[in-house]
């Protein structure tokens, strides 16, 4: 998608939160990307970067500084009706930044938009982490209680509650997902938090 920007000193790095590399293999092979496409089987990046839902994107500058914190961007408008996000807006802004036509967000704006975890978020991540490890050990029945506790503690962490659905033999695109999503949004929860500047 951004091949034309490569010579300008630009790189795309993707990280997928998956039970195993094989869960993402089909998708990555189909896209056959030339950029690093990484697999995170412990959700380490979700913890490190406080990723609440997917997709979440960051812009990182030449010095390794975050110049656009957690934002939402899609490759196409395939799910626009569902997400309410126009993919072209972010793509245009990204191209302009890479070409040096417009600066990224300044420090104050980054700070304003940056999302940081609460204690409940981190406790939920610990519950999820224990559940994920137990699942990996073949102890799915013991894992379930921890996944449920994570969901109760932090319904905002889609990376935990939705990310654990396959490990609970549930369909992350099935009826239960839509039920939960509708309930969460009904309570005022946000699915895609877009930075509007």
């Amino acid at each position: 998608m951004f091949e034309e920007l490569r010579e300008l000193g630009f790189v795309v790095i993707t990280v997928a939160f998956e039970r195993t590399a094989d869960d993402a293999r089909e998708w990555i092979d189909a896209a056959s990307p030339s950029h690093p496409s990484l697999i995170d089987t412990t959700w380490a990046i979700a913890d490190l970067y406080h990723v609440e839902n997917v997709p979440t994107v960051f812009w990182i500058d030449e010095e390794g500084l975050i110049v656009r914190p957690q934002d939402v961007a899609f490759g196409s408008n395939m799910f626009q009706d569902f997400t309410g996000v126009d993919a072209e807006v972010h793509k245009t802004a990204l191209r302009r930044w890479v070409r040096g036509e417009t600066p990224a967000l300044d420090r104050d704006a980054v700070d304003r938009h940056l999302r940081v975890p609460t204690e409940a978020d981190q406790l939920a991540r610990a519950e999820f982490g224990l559940g994920r490890w137990l699942w990996e050990q073949g102890r799915a029945e013991l894992a379930r209680a921890h996944f449920q506790r994570a969901e109760e503690l932090a319904p905002n962490l889609w990376t935990c509650w939705r990310g654990s659905m396959r490990m609970q033999d549930e369909d992350p695109m099935g009826e239960l997902f839509f039920e939960k999503m509708t309930a969460y949004r009904g309570d005022g929860g946000v699915m895609a938090r877009v930075i509007a500047e």
């Binding site: 951004f2 300008l8 000193g9 630009f10 790189v11 795309v12 790095i13 993707t14 990280v15 997928a16 939160f17 998956e18 590399a21 869960d23 993402a24 089909e26 998708w27 990555i28 092979d29 690093p36 990484l38 697999i39 412990t42 380490a44 990046i45 913890d47 970067y49 406080h50 997917v54 997709p55 979440t56 994107v57 960051f58 812009w59 990182i60 030449e62 010095e63 390794g64 500084l65 975050i66 961007a73 990204l94 890479v98 940056l114 940081v116 975890p117 204690e119 981190q122 406790l123 991540r125 610990a126 519950e127 982490g129 224990l130 490890w133 102890r139 013991l142 506790r149 990310g163 659905m165």
Partner: protein, 140 residues
């Protein structure tokens, strides 16, 4: 002597099998285990790692019988979440919300190393000098 059995202690960066006694809401371990598995030392002045010490105001919440320390009290003092599953004989020690927040507030993108599908390791720092579009996604 405090009777101990094996407990799997999981952190973001790995798992260690430690000797522990899980009972009454406490996880009692030897101070040496606290050092090797968690990286903190129980010293008279408090809980220390390198030059950094956190004062222990309530010693009873940290210290157990026979020179043991309580991992639950330690996690609490450090603001780190600890989830214990006595039946599974496993515990997960997470990262403090305050530490995570401070790291992000510094605006320095946290370093990481992860494999691609071929098993090759990649680090964020390899791309210093370039603009990076970093995407977290999932097949689900």
């Amino acid at each position: 002597m405090v009777q101990m059995s094996l407990l799997s202690l999981i952190r973001g960066d790995g798992v260690s099998a430690i000797d522990a006694r899980v009972s009454g809401g406490r996880v009692l371990i030897e101070p040496a285990v606290l050092e090797t598995a968690v990286g903190w030392h129980r010293r008279p002045e408090g809980l220390c790692r390198g030059e950094v010490c956190v004062p222990v105001r309530d010693a009873a919440a940290i210290d157990g019988p026979d020179g043991t320390v309580d991992l639950v009290g330690v996690a609490d003092l450090l603001g780190r979440p600890l989830v214990v599953d006595a039946e599974a004989k496993a515990a997960y020690l997470g990262e403090a919300a305050l530490d995570r927040a401070a790291m992000l507030r510094s605006q320095v993108a946290p370093e990481f190393t992860l494999p691609d599908l071929a098993g090759r390791q990649h680090s964020l720092s390899e791309h210093r000098g370039k603009k990076v579009f970093f995407v977290a996604w999932a097949s689900w």
